[in-house]
Symmetry: C2
Subunit: 142 residues, 2 copies
DNA sequence: CTATTTAATTATCATTTGATAACCATAATA
DNA sequence: TATTATGGTTATCAAATGATAATTAAATAG
Protein backbone atom coordinates (compact mmCIF):
# COMPACT_ATOMS: atom_id res chain seq x y z
CA UNK A 1 0.00 0.00 0.00
CA UNK A 2 1.47 3.34 -0.98
CA UNK A 3 1.51 6.38 1.25
CA UNK A 4 -1.34 8.09 -0.55
CA UNK A 5 -3.58 5.08 0.01
CA UNK A 6 -2.58 5.05 3.67
CA UNK A 7 -3.65 8.68 3.94
CA UNK A 8 -7.02 7.85 2.42
CA UNK A 9 -7.38 5.04 4.91
CA UNK A 10 -6.48 7.45 7.71
CA UNK A 11 -9.19 9.84 6.57
CA UNK A 12 -11.78 7.08 6.63
CA UNK A 13 -10.50 5.84 9.96
CA UNK A 14 -10.60 9.17 11.76
CA UNK A 15 -14.04 9.80 10.33
CA UNK A 16 -15.21 6.54 11.88
CA UNK A 17 -13.60 7.38 15.19
CA UNK A 18 -15.31 10.74 15.29
CA UNK A 19 -18.61 9.20 14.30
CA UNK A 20 -18.51 6.47 16.92
CA UNK A 21 -17.27 8.85 19.59
CA UNK A 22 -20.24 11.04 18.84
CA UNK A 23 -22.62 8.07 19.07
CA UNK A 24 -21.24 6.98 22.42
CA UNK A 25 -21.13 10.43 23.96
CA UNK A 26 -24.31 12.01 22.65
CA UNK A 27 -26.66 13.17 25.38
CA UNK A 28 -24.29 11.80 28.00
CA UNK A 29 -23.58 15.26 29.30
CA UNK A 30 -25.87 17.18 31.59
CA UNK A 31 -28.06 19.79 29.93
CA UNK A 32 -26.86 22.41 32.38
CA UNK A 33 -23.51 22.81 30.61
CA UNK A 34 -22.57 23.69 27.06
CA UNK A 35 -20.50 21.45 24.77
CA UNK A 36 -17.40 23.59 25.26
CA UNK A 37 -17.87 23.49 29.01
CA UNK A 38 -18.16 19.72 28.86
CA UNK A 39 -14.90 19.50 26.92
CA UNK A 40 -13.19 21.62 29.52
CA UNK A 41 -14.55 19.48 32.35
CA UNK A 42 -13.45 16.35 30.53
CA UNK A 43 -9.96 17.75 30.19
CA UNK A 44 -9.86 18.74 33.85
CA UNK A 45 -11.12 15.29 34.81
CA UNK A 46 -8.26 13.45 33.18
CA UNK A 47 -5.52 16.00 33.85
CA UNK A 48 -6.33 17.66 37.14
CA UNK A 49 -5.00 19.72 38.67
CA UNK A 50 -4.57 21.98 35.71
CA UNK A 51 -4.05 25.71 35.15
CA UNK A 52 -6.23 27.99 33.02
CA UNK A 53 -3.29 28.47 30.66
CA UNK A 54 -3.02 24.75 30.10
CA UNK A 55 -6.73 24.51 29.40
CA UNK A 56 -6.41 27.40 26.99
CA UNK A 57 -3.52 25.74 25.16
CA UNK A 58 -4.85 22.21 25.00
CA UNK A 59 -8.46 23.06 24.24
CA UNK A 60 -7.55 25.83 21.80
CA UNK A 61 -9.59 28.45 23.56
CA UNK A 62 -8.25 31.97 24.09
CA UNK A 63 -7.39 32.94 27.65
CA UNK A 64 -10.24 35.43 27.96
CA UNK A 65 -12.76 32.87 26.79
CA UNK A 66 -11.24 30.17 28.96
CA UNK A 67 -11.51 32.49 31.92
CA UNK A 68 -15.13 33.22 31.13
CA UNK A 69 -16.09 29.56 30.86
CA UNK A 70 -14.19 28.65 34.01
CA UNK A 71 -16.04 31.39 35.82
CA UNK A 72 -19.34 29.93 34.67
CA UNK A 73 -18.28 26.43 35.73
CA UNK A 74 -17.23 27.84 39.07
CA UNK A 75 -20.56 29.59 39.52
CA UNK A 76 -22.23 26.25 38.83
CA UNK A 77 -20.06 24.79 41.60
CA UNK A 78 -18.52 22.23 39.28
CA UNK A 79 -14.90 23.28 39.72
CA UNK A 80 -12.71 24.92 42.33
CA UNK A 81 -9.75 27.22 41.96
CA UNK A 82 -6.76 27.17 44.26
CA UNK A 83 -4.03 29.71 43.79
CA UNK A 84 -0.44 28.52 43.89
CA UNK A 85 1.34 29.52 47.08
CA UNK A 86 4.66 29.85 45.25
CA UNK A 87 3.50 31.96 42.35
CA UNK A 88 0.29 33.65 43.28
CA UNK A 89 -0.58 34.45 39.68
CA UNK A 90 -1.07 30.78 38.96
CA UNK A 91 -4.21 28.84 39.68
CA UNK A 92 -4.82 25.17 40.01
CA UNK A 93 -8.19 23.97 38.95
CA UNK A 94 -9.83 20.76 39.98
CA UNK A 95 -13.31 19.30 40.00
CA UNK A 96 -15.56 19.93 42.95
CA UNK A 97 -17.45 17.03 44.52
CA UNK A 98 -20.45 18.04 42.44
CA UNK A 99 -18.33 18.24 39.30
CA UNK A 100 -16.90 14.80 39.97
CA UNK A 101 -20.38 13.38 40.36
CA UNK A 102 -21.50 14.94 37.12
CA UNK A 103 -18.51 13.60 35.23
CA UNK A 104 -18.86 10.18 36.80
CA UNK A 105 -22.42 10.00 35.57
CA UNK A 106 -21.44 11.07 32.08
CA UNK A 107 -18.56 8.62 31.90
CA UNK A 108 -20.78 5.83 33.21
CA UNK A 109 -23.21 6.36 30.36
CA UNK A 110 -20.42 6.43 27.80
CA UNK A 111 -18.77 3.37 29.27
CA UNK A 112 -21.95 1.33 29.28
CA UNK A 113 -22.47 2.13 25.61
CA UNK A 114 -18.85 1.25 24.94
CA UNK A 115 -19.18 -2.08 26.72
CA UNK A 116 -22.38 -3.00 24.94
CA UNK A 117 -20.65 -2.30 21.66
CA UNK A 118 -18.08 -4.90 22.69
CA UNK A 119 -20.43 -7.42 24.22
CA UNK A 120 -20.00 -9.93 21.41
CA UNK A 121 -16.24 -9.52 21.17
CA UNK A 122 -14.15 -12.56 22.01
CA UNK A 123 -11.14 -12.49 24.30
CA UNK A 124 -8.92 -12.50 21.23
CA UNK A 125 -10.85 -9.61 19.72
CA UNK A 126 -10.27 -7.57 22.86
CA UNK A 127 -6.57 -8.38 22.81
CA UNK A 128 -6.42 -7.41 19.12
CA UNK A 129 -8.16 -4.14 19.83
CA UNK A 130 -5.84 -3.34 22.68
CA UNK A 131 -2.76 -4.10 20.63
CA UNK A 132 -4.04 -2.07 17.69
CA UNK A 133 -4.69 0.95 19.89
CA UNK A 134 -1.19 0.68 21.34
CA UNK A 135 0.38 0.52 17.90
CA UNK A 136 -1.50 3.52 16.57
CA UNK A 137 -0.97 5.46 19.77
CA UNK A 138 2.81 5.08 19.56
CA UNK A 139 3.32 5.19 15.80
CA UNK A 140 0.72 7.64 14.57
CA UNK A 141 -1.24 9.49 17.22
CA UNK A 142 1.62 10.42 19.48
CA UNK B 1 -6.65 -6.40 30.65
CA UNK B 2 -10.19 -6.09 31.94
CA UNK B 3 -12.95 -4.28 30.12
CA UNK B 4 -12.80 -1.23 32.36
CA UNK B 5 -9.12 -0.77 31.58
CA UNK B 6 -9.89 -1.16 27.89
CA UNK B 7 -12.43 1.62 28.19
CA UNK B 8 -9.85 3.88 29.82
CA UNK B 9 -7.47 3.09 27.03
CA UNK B 10 -10.17 3.91 24.52
CA UNK B 11 -10.71 7.29 26.14
CA UNK B 12 -7.01 8.09 25.94
CA UNK B 13 -6.88 6.80 22.38
CA UNK B 14 -9.78 8.82 21.05
CA UNK B 15 -8.42 11.87 22.80
CA UNK B 16 -5.15 11.40 20.92
CA UNK B 17 -6.95 10.90 17.64
CA UNK B 18 -8.92 14.09 18.11
CA UNK B 19 -5.83 15.97 19.15
CA UNK B 20 -3.74 14.84 16.17
CA UNK B 21 -6.61 15.36 13.77
CA UNK B 22 -6.86 18.90 15.01
CA UNK B 23 -3.13 19.43 14.56
CA UNK B 24 -3.17 18.15 11.00
CA UNK B 25 -6.27 20.02 9.92
CA UNK B 26 -5.87 23.34 11.66
CA UNK B 27 -5.83 26.29 9.26
CA UNK B 28 -6.11 23.91 6.33
CA UNK B 29 -9.52 25.22 5.44
CA UNK B 30 -10.14 28.44 3.57
CA UNK B 31 -11.09 31.42 5.73
CA UNK B 32 -14.13 32.05 3.57
CA UNK B 33 -16.08 29.18 5.14
CA UNK B 34 -17.03 28.37 8.71
CA UNK B 35 -16.05 25.16 10.52
CA UNK B 36 -19.52 23.69 10.12
CA UNK B 37 -19.50 24.52 6.43
CA UNK B 38 -16.13 22.82 6.10
CA UNK B 39 -17.48 19.70 7.75
CA UNK B 40 -20.38 19.66 5.36
CA UNK B 41 -18.09 20.08 2.38
CA UNK B 42 -15.85 17.31 3.67
CA UNK B 43 -18.84 15.02 3.96
CA UNK B 44 -20.03 15.90 0.48
CA UNK B 45 -16.51 15.33 -0.86
CA UNK B 46 -16.30 11.75 0.32
CA UNK B 47 -19.96 10.81 -0.19
CA UNK B 48 -21.21 12.77 -3.15
CA UNK B 49 -23.77 12.89 -4.48
CA UNK B 50 -25.69 13.31 -1.27
CA UNK B 51 -29.07 14.71 -0.25
CA UNK B 52 -29.71 17.46 2.29
CA UNK B 53 -31.47 14.90 4.50
CA UNK B 54 -28.41 12.69 4.54
CA UNK B 55 -26.21 15.62 5.44
CA UNK B 56 -28.63 16.53 8.18
CA UNK B 57 -28.60 12.98 9.59
CA UNK B 58 -24.90 12.30 9.35
CA UNK B 59 -23.68 15.70 10.47
CA UNK B 60 -26.30 16.03 13.18
CA UNK B 61 -27.60 19.33 11.95
CA UNK B 62 -31.33 20.04 11.80
CA UNK B 63 -32.89 20.26 8.36
CA UNK B 64 -33.54 23.99 8.57
CA UNK B 65 -29.96 24.68 9.55
CA UNK B 66 -28.63 22.30 6.94
CA UNK B 67 -30.69 24.09 4.35
CA UNK B 68 -29.35 27.44 5.47
CA UNK B 69 -25.72 26.34 5.31
CA UNK B 70 -26.20 24.67 1.92
CA UNK B 71 -27.69 27.87 0.64
CA UNK B 72 -24.62 29.78 1.78
CA UNK B 73 -22.30 27.23 0.19
CA UNK B 74 -24.31 27.48 -2.97
CA UNK B 75 -24.08 31.27 -2.96
CA UNK B 76 -20.33 30.89 -2.62
CA UNK B 77 -20.44 28.66 -5.70
CA UNK B 78 -18.89 25.74 -3.85
CA UNK B 79 -21.71 23.26 -4.41
CA UNK B 80 -24.44 22.56 -6.92
CA UNK B 81 -27.90 21.17 -6.44
CA UNK B 82 -29.64 18.89 -8.89
CA UNK B 83 -33.15 17.75 -8.27
CA UNK B 84 -34.00 14.10 -8.74
CA UNK B 85 -36.01 13.46 -11.89
CA UNK B 86 -37.86 10.57 -10.22
CA UNK B 87 -38.81 12.30 -6.99
CA UNK B 88 -38.70 16.01 -7.52
CA UNK B 89 -38.66 16.75 -3.81
CA UNK B 90 -35.21 15.23 -3.53
CA UNK B 91 -31.99 17.00 -4.32
CA UNK B 92 -28.57 15.68 -5.10
CA UNK B 93 -25.73 17.82 -3.99
CA UNK B 94 -22.23 17.70 -5.32
CA UNK B 95 -19.17 19.91 -5.31
CA UNK B 96 -18.75 22.52 -8.00
CA UNK B 97 -15.42 22.85 -9.81
CA UNK B 98 -14.57 25.64 -7.41
CA UNK B 99 -15.59 23.54 -4.43
CA UNK B 100 -13.47 20.66 -5.64
CA UNK B 101 -10.48 22.94 -5.98
CA UNK B 102 -10.97 24.28 -2.48
CA UNK B 103 -11.24 20.81 -0.99
CA UNK B 104 -8.25 19.57 -2.99
CA UNK B 105 -6.16 22.36 -1.53
CA UNK B 106 -7.31 21.63 1.99
CA UNK B 107 -6.70 17.90 1.65
CA UNK B 108 -3.28 18.55 0.13
CA UNK B 109 -2.25 20.53 3.19
CA UNK B 110 -3.54 17.86 5.54
CA UNK B 111 -1.91 15.08 3.56
CA UNK B 112 1.47 16.78 3.50
CA UNK B 113 1.35 17.12 7.27
CA UNK B 114 0.27 13.52 7.55
CA UNK B 115 3.15 12.33 5.38
CA UNK B 116 5.71 14.37 7.25
CA UNK B 117 4.48 12.83 10.47
CA UNK B 118 5.28 9.45 8.91
CA UNK B 119 8.51 10.37 7.21
CA UNK B 120 10.64 8.35 9.62
CA UNK B 121 8.35 5.33 9.66
CA UNK B 122 9.77 2.11 8.28
CA UNK B 123 7.97 -0.12 5.81
CA UNK B 124 7.06 -2.41 8.69
CA UNK B 125 5.72 0.52 10.69
CA UNK B 126 3.46 1.48 7.82
CA UNK B 127 2.23 -2.09 7.51
CA UNK B 128 1.60 -2.22 11.26
CA UNK B 129 -0.34 1.03 11.13
CA UNK B 130 -2.43 -0.16 8.23
CA UNK B 131 -3.24 -3.43 9.95
CA UNK B 132 -4.07 -1.71 13.21
CA UNK B 133 -6.48 0.68 11.49
CA UNK B 134 -8.17 -2.26 9.76
CA UNK B 135 -8.60 -4.11 13.02
CA UNK B 136 -10.07 -1.16 14.87
CA UNK B 137 -12.23 -0.19 11.93
CA UNK B 138 -13.84 -3.62 11.79
CA UNK B 139 -13.93 -4.50 15.49
CA UNK B 140 -14.58 -1.20 17.22
CA UNK B 141 -15.33 1.75 14.99
CA UNK B 142 -17.78 0.08 12.66
C1' DC C 1 -59.90 12.96 -5.03
C1' DT C 2 -58.59 14.05 -0.40
C1' DA C 3 -55.58 13.38 3.43
C1' DT C 4 -51.21 12.44 4.96
C1' DT C 5 -46.38 12.03 4.72
C1' DT C 6 -41.91 13.43 3.05
C1' DA C 7 -38.10 16.66 1.49
C1' DA C 8 -36.79 20.92 1.72
C1' DT C 9 -37.14 26.04 2.59
C1' DT C 10 -37.82 30.49 4.92
C1' DA C 11 -38.01 33.35 8.81
C1' DT C 12 -36.92 34.33 13.38
C1' DC C 13 -34.88 34.12 17.83
C1' DA C 14 -31.76 32.73 21.61
C1' DT C 15 -27.52 30.96 22.88
C1' DT C 16 -22.90 29.81 22.29
C1' DT C 17 -18.61 30.72 20.78
C1' DG C 18 -14.73 33.53 19.02
C1' DA C 19 -12.10 37.77 18.90
C1' DT C 20 -10.15 41.96 20.77
C1' DA C 21 -8.82 45.65 23.86
C1' DA C 22 -7.98 47.17 28.26
C1' DC C 23 -6.73 45.95 32.69
C1' DC C 24 -4.86 44.02 37.36
C1' DA C 25 -1.67 41.65 40.20
C1' DT C 26 2.41 39.25 40.71
C1' DA C 27 6.98 37.84 39.41
C1' DA C 28 11.29 38.29 37.10
C1' DT C 29 14.86 41.19 35.26
C1' DA C 30 17.89 45.02 34.16
C1' DT D 1 13.68 50.59 41.78
C1' DA D 2 11.79 50.94 37.30
C1' DT D 3 10.63 47.93 33.51
C1' DT D 4 9.03 44.17 31.42
C1' DA D 5 6.88 39.61 31.21
C1' DT D 6 3.48 36.37 32.83
C1' DG D 7 -1.04 34.56 34.34
C1' DG D 8 -5.36 35.76 34.60
C1' DT D 9 -9.75 38.80 34.45
C1' DT D 10 -13.36 41.90 32.72
C1' DA D 11 -16.03 43.99 29.24
C1' DT D 12 -17.73 44.15 24.81
C1' DC D 13 -18.82 42.99 20.19
C1' DA D 14 -19.57 40.09 16.16
C1' DA D 15 -20.36 35.83 14.16
C1' DA D 16 -21.69 31.09 14.18
C1' DT D 17 -24.68 27.76 15.63
C1' DG D 18 -28.94 25.68 17.49
C1' DA D 19 -33.91 25.56 17.98
C1' DT D 20 -38.65 26.24 16.55
C1' DA D 21 -42.72 27.42 13.87
C1' DA D 22 -44.76 28.05 9.64
C1' DT D 23 -44.79 27.14 4.71
C1' DT D 24 -44.27 25.00 -0.01
C1' DA D 25 -44.28 21.35 -3.23
C1' DA D 26 -44.32 16.82 -4.42
C1' DA D 27 -45.34 11.99 -3.49
C1' DT D 28 -48.07 8.43 -1.44
C1' DA D 29 -51.98 6.21 0.92
C1' DG D 30 -56.78 5.80 1.88
Amino acid sequence: MDKKALFDKWVAFTTSVHQVTHELTQNAKSDSITPVQYNILEYITVSQPVTPSEISDCQHISMPNTSRELKKLSEKNLIEKVSDSEDRRKQYIHLSKEGEMMMNEAFAIVESRFQSRLQHASKEDLADIERAMDILQTKLFY
